[in-house]
Subunit: 181 residues, 2 copies
Amino acid sequence: MKRSEIVKAQARAAEMLKACNIEITEQERTSIEVACFGLNELEIQGLELITYVNTDRYCAKELLLFPLQTCPEHLHPPIGTDPGKMETFRCRSGKVFLYVEGEATKSIQGIIPVGSEPYYTVFNEIELNPGEQYTIHPGIKHWFQAGADGAVVSEFSSTSRDEFDIFTDTRIERMPTVTED
Amino acid sequence: MKRSEIVKAQARAAEMLKACNIEITEQERTSIEVACFGLNELEIQGLELITYVNTDRYCAKELLLFPLQTCPEHLHPPIGTDPGKMETFRCRSGKVFLYVEGEATKSIQGIIPVGSEPYYTVFNEIELNPGEQYTIHPGIKHWFQAGADGAVVSEFSSTSRDEFDIFTDTRIERMPTVTED
């Protein structure tokens, strides 16, 4: 991903936070993580993140999704004595459709990214509006997509070790390289 | 504490959240915890809390402080194999003065509650404004007080077991009884 695209996405994410009155420091603003998953279509499959704290006991992040942006399907595996990351998503602004394992919802509201259909396999839909939350247990496949106005989602969790996440789409690199313009 | 006082404090806390655009569900609103610590002076020494999630791995709360309201000095002790609660306070709105162990700040900005002076013993001051945060390690004595406009503080932490908190003021009951009007 090009440095200029990252800077642009960071500015857009910061604007979304400002619009819903969530304050961040200047240091946090300039280090907003822009995850394009190595797929080169950030606005379709991508995610912006601010990690407030990540200790060996707990983690808290703000997740930012542009309109209809999708975080691809993945799970958090056990690592050593850690049974895998457990996480609670709390919608703060906008709307997010979360999909987890379980009975498929008959007609889902999300749109599966074109060309990536084989990599979306769980369709139990949970709609989260501001003030609503859902907890995802370790090892459960999940993906999520913002509604038409984007979404700001607080994530409360056990320790994050994103580099171990297992994506259904084997083309994905969770930690892709940045190229200077 | 009387039921009517609790309901009044819940309504006031909910208004503070509304003023800073933090959405909660109706169920969360009616179960806002009002902690008066058995001291019968809620507006001086007290705290309002919403626990979003508290699992055996992590916890997330919203803490609400009325103008100049103080959460009395306490610490989180080890419990069994748990080394004690570790917590990160992130100011979302207003201002909070946090006091922890360490070198005493020469002239603190907070006001020690009159009549409770012997129970405030740590004075290393950390001022948190919106977007600023601080992590308190287990076993560290701390207390905090809102500025003149009150404060909304997100707490990210390891598992909460509030009933084991150790307060410097031995008159305090963390889980006092509610009396019907």
